[in-house]
């Protein structure tokens, strides 16, 4: 059993030693879903803070329209959708990872972004137009780091080769589109059923 301190420091180990780190998440139960969820929440928060408070020169967002709740929910929904899509595809393709492993990989991989978004936001207050590069570099590197970590994580927890990981990722995005399509379909169908029931109800009311 890991100590509390060890548990909280483990994401830092993962981002510096991704292959070993993710392997131990899958096989030695070193990962923690609540911690992953916390990291996702923190990322959502820092993402939103960045959108709202980044300096005027680099901020092209209409800050009045930024709503942290929507941003955080959007991040969670994206993670959930991706995890579901990836899980359903890798299940079929003999991936070894469990759903909670996928969520943990995504959450732990967000650590670099959690660490850089707020410092980048603060840096953005002190830069002029021709120094934007520093800011964008910081954001870009952390995003790239995140993508690499996710790639390695997916590869390791499912025990895939690199090529197979890429193929499953392509399928994952197809599955993602499919899921969104089905959800939209469902919403519109439920809406129609609801409208039918509502009109039947009003009809009944008026007849009685």
């Amino acid at each position: 059993m890991m100590s509390k301190k060890e548990k909280f420091l483990y994401p830092f180990y993962v981002i510096t030693h991704p292959f070993d780190g993710f392997y131990e998440i899958r096989h030695r139960e070193k990962g923690s879903v609540p911690l992953a969820l916390l990291l996702i929440l923190l990322f959502g928060l820092s993402f939103s803070i960045n959108r709202r408070y980044a300096g005027f020169i680099v901020n092209y967002v209409y800050t009045r329209t930024v709503d942290s709740r929507t941003d955080i929910i959007a991040v969670f929904v994206a993670v959930l959708l991706f995890a579901t899509a990836n899980w359903s595809i890798t299940c079929l393709l003999e991936g070894e990872g469990r759903f909670k492993d996928i969520v943990t990989v995504l959450g732990y991989s967000m650590l670099p972004m959690v660490l850089t978004y707020i410092p980048a936001t603060i840096i953005s207050w002190f830069i002029a137009a021709d120094e934007e590069a520093i800011y964008y570099l910081l954001l870009g590197i952390s995003l790239l780091y995140f993508l690499v970590l996710v790639l390695i994580g997916i590869m390791v927890i499912h025990n895939f080769s690199f090529g197979k990981t890429l193929v499953t990722l392509v399928f994952t995005f197809l599955a993602l589109a499919l899921i969104i399509f089905v959800i939209l379909l469902l919403i519109s169908l439920i809406n129609q059923v609801y409208l039918f029931l509502e009109s039947a109800y009003t009809e009944l009311l008026l007849r009685m």
Partner: protein
Amino acid sequence: MKKIFLILFVIVFLSADGSMAYANSNVPYHTYNYDYWEDIFYTPAAYIPNGSISGTDIGVGFLSNPQDIFVAEDGRLYIADTGNNRIIILDSQLKLERVIDSFDHGGTLDTFNGPSGLYVTQKNEIYIADTNHYRVVALKEDGSLLKIISNPTSEVLEEDFVFAPLKVGVDYADRVYVIAKNMFQGIMAFDNNGNFTGFSGTIRVTISLYEKIWRKLSTKAQRERQVQFIPTEFTGVDLAPDGFIYATNIDADGQQSIRRLNPKGQDVIKMKANGKLSGDLWWRYGMEYSGASRIVDIVYRGNGIYTVIDTTRGRVFTYDHEGNLLYIFGGKGSQKGTFKSPVAVEMKDDQILVLDSHRGEIMFFVATKYGSLINQAVSLRYDGDEASAVKIWEEVLELDSNFELAYVGIGKSYLAAGENKKAMEYLKLGMDREYYSIAFKRYRDDILKDNLGYVLTGIIVLVIVQSIRSVIRKRNQKGVGYDE
């Protein structure tokens, strides 16, 4: 998403209409503008209706479907009374001076047939687009024939091309620019002898990748029935004194309806970052008043300011030389100051004239304090005199605190005066990132300069302390060694 907002906005807008009091004016239209985020904000009226004149007011009977008006440099007003095949000339006091319905053409009396465009040069020569006679007629001031442009021949023109001019413009060197019916290649340019010299301002058709793929996949029969990718037509033309052509065209996507063509025929108009220069930024899809603005005429007003008119919603848009939308007024309706079918816009002294072909009337609009302040400030800015514009911008802001251009103007002058912090504040309100960045840099440099002494002193002190400590430590270690 934005569409939904627009619909919501329209609902709110309509429901609030009755209860909301527009204290600024009693004009029969909404006066609004778009901010940086393309949101609508309401402004005071920049121009208000100031009467109208019809054919009966002039004393020539009803105008029948007039298509164009022109105000000459001496203040005379020319009306192309298309349906009645005549040209009406009013003097600068708007009293009837003359009606031209025929001219002497080599001994025989010749008439017009559907003259739908006209232009008057500085020498008071009248150029008339005599549409249904397929020619452009140029008359001298006394009404005698100067020249006739017809049947242009060129390799670039198709054999069966019928030259039916709709609008006409003439530059300082008597070159004639003609917008012809079904001519999609651009504005036709003629030299001072009436020889066709080429096209000006050809609009390239852009086909998206999706459309290309779609066309590849469809059969020939299908392709024939699809929408053809033809460039849009030009609708109106005006000439600036420097010879630049201001032209309008139809753009159903609402991207660019206004062009400024240099003598080589290239479009050199300046646009804002969003790349749109086409009247309204938002519109309804379906039902009444839907679709992008249909810009049909333009008037160049000097100092880089130009005004265009939209037939879809009957609005008059005015831009400055950088493509900033200055003000919007007008609307459709049957009240005084609204239009049924606006077709032409002109400028007489300080008044904006709009010709309504359906009503056969010319509406006059006069600038309010708000409108004329903006005109003044923008003109000063165009001349590069931003310093004297500041006072006027401040007055504009008193009337309309949402006017971003005013904030930019004031901010720039603070920047020039070295008040960087104030400049930053105003430039941010005006959403000008470029100049804000300059102001910010100077402000940051000032702070650094003021505090550099402390920072450097601090660093030096730290270094000294650190080195003293290390020296002491070394000495202590040595001491320990000696003791042993």
